[in-house]
Amino acid sequence: MLTDLEVGLYIFMLATFLGLEIIRRVSPLLHTPLMSLTNAISAIAVVGSILITGAAHASTLTRTLGFIAVTASMTNAVSGYLITDRMLKMFKTRKPANRPGAAQ
């Protein structure tokens, strides 16, 4: 009944509105980790990359490009989530802490 394009437009509209609403309320305290999180989410390109690379009768060109794409987005995803978590670990609430500052 609906073409892919029309469904896509519905979803694009709703997701964009939703993104704008949510992000506007993130405290500036967390803007740096947020940027690195959304960066990790942009590794979603991995979905397309897998489809290209794993397809049945893919040409060598397609496979090569797909392989690079999967590698790039996988690196992106792994490092993105890990570093975001590393950053966020620093934000955990602490007791008014009086252990002497752990020098590097």
Binding site: L5, L29, A43, I44, A72, S79, F91, G101, Q104
Partner: protein
């Protein structure tokens, strides 16, 4: 059957991405948010691998292994101060993936109509974000010159290149068979990405990175349209809107417009237009003098800035905080929204050094406290303390939100020289009678302060 299961997995994955961003709102739930994001990504990957179209797993497995091997050290070995660079590099990867998928899809299927339009968008945005982010990385890592590079007719040239790229894209959507045009289209997109960043100063990179984040997201969303995949559309547009909001927030915090960031070649103009150097006197002091003043103060507000990150002095600063607190001084930290080079830069830095964040105050909450403070101790901050932003309409940073450090009884400023900060302008604060300049690298000077204060403590 499997296709249905995949769709439910995708819906769950999309919901997890939404929760992930929702939970990023507050520090207490943020780690859960990060976890939800990772879980969403895992589901997306699992769901995709389950699809019947995917038959060959060898290459994919290999790519996964490489990705993990490359990703883990990238996350753990990077120092926290290199976060901006890492983000830029990561954008480059994400955008490259999107662009390559678009390219591969073009050569595989040569689609027509709306799908081709989406594919052109995906490829254009992907490639320009790729080179743009690499340039940004180079500037932040100081491989490339930080200063903006300008030449005559720059904007005209840039816009023509973009125009050519768009024209090629339009032609391709009308006649997708013209395979010879596709490499040209790619080349133009790549070049435009480079040219876009050339005239932007290194210090404006964080804003640009946020914008590139937005492009990378839109590129993924376009991929979703091209492949008929809703999950890509959702994740891509969440990303796209997030990047947009962040860059708007950053521009607004610096009281500048988008156009000014992108085409203003900020950092160059001001550096040359620094104005005549009147011979004005400043008072400087030694670590010993400064320690004495600090010791006799009842309340101290510390204002960290970009120099703290450069000097990596956060852990030493924590020691200073400890020793002052032990001596009964009330110590607060004042965080300007644009201090440093990334939004929340100072928060991350101070959190890394384990400074309890109930001692960190946002600008609006602390500005009225400076008048009651005995000492405002500025460490490696400059522009965010410049009173000209309040008073001097002709200043390039006029209207930028600043911390009212000049209201404190005594102001102490740790920096290496009289040279200006990011905005390239002089700071009248330094010439006030109540201001003491503490010249030196932030890390070594704070170390000295801690030493002096500990001696006072022992003597007492």
């Amino acid at each position: 059957m499997i296709e249905t299961a995949v769709q439910y997995i995708y819906i769950l994955s999309a919901a997890l991405f939404v929760f992930s961003l929702k939970w990023m709102r507050s520090p207490t739930t943020a780690r859960r948010g990060c976890f939800a994001g990772a879980a969403g990504m895992l589901l997306a990957i699992v769901g995709t691998l389950m699809r019947p179209e995917v038959v060959d797993y060898k290459l994919i497995a290999g790519a996964f292994v490489i990705g993990i091997i490359a990703g883990v050290p990238l996350a753990y070995l990077m120092p926290m101060t290199a976060v901006p660079q890492r983000t830029a590099l990561s954008h480059a990867f994400g955008a490259l993936a999107a662009a390559l998928v678009g390219t591969a899809e073009y050569y595989r299927a040569t689609p027509h109509g709306a799908v081709m339009v989406a594919l052109v968008f995906e490829t254009l945005l992907g490639f320009l974000t790729f080179t743009g982010s690499m340039m940004a990385f180079g500037k932040l890592q100081e491989i490339l010159p930080q200063r903006p590079i300008t030449y005559r007719n720059q904007n005209v040239i840039n816009l023509s290149i973009l125009g050519l790229a768009v024209a090629a894209g339009v032609w391709l959507t009308i006649q997708p068979e013209h395979a010879w045009l596709f490499p040209i289209f790619i080349g133009l997109s790549l070049i435009f990405g480079v040219l876009l960043i050339v005239p932007i100063g290194g210090a404006d990179m964080p804003t640009v990175i946020a914008l590139l984040n937005s492009y990378a997201g839109l590129s993924a969303a376009a991929m979703g349209f091209a492949l008929g995949n809703r999950l890509l559309i959702i994740a891509g547009s969440l990303d796209g809107s997030s990047g947009l909001i962040l860059s708007i927030v950053m521009c607004r915090a610096m009281n500048r417009s988008f156009t000014n960031v992108l085409f203003g070649a900020f950092g160059q103009v001001q550096a040359t237009a620094g104005g005549p150097h009147e011979q004005r006197t400043v008072h400087s002091a030694s670590a010993e003098d400064a320690a004495q003043i600090l010791d006799s103060a009842r309340s101290v507000i510390i204002v960290p800035g970009y120099g703290l990150a450069v000097a990596q002095a956060q852990h030493k600063l924590r020691e200073l905080y400890d020793v002052l607190t032990r001596r009964g001084v009330d110590v607060k930290f004042a965080i300007d929204p644009v201090a440093g080079r990334m939004p929340g830069h100072m928060n991350v830095l101070l959190a890394e050094a384990d400074i309890p964040y109930d001692r960190l105050f946002e600008m609006d909450d602390i500005n009225s406290d400076f008048a009651q403070a005995d000492v405002a101790l500025v460490i490696g901050a400059n522009d965010v303390t410049n009173p000209a932003a309040r008073t001097d309409k002709s200043s390039p940073i006029y209207g930028m939100p600043i911390l009212d450090v000049d209201k404190a009884r005594t102001v102490m400023v740790i920096k290496r020289s009289m040279s200006p900060g990011f905005a390239g302008i002089d700071n009248p604060l330094y010439y006030l009678d109540k201001t003491l300049m503490l010249f030196g690298d932030a890390k070594s000077f704070v170390t000295d302060l801690v030493k002096e204060l500990s001696e006072v403590a022992k003597a007492a």
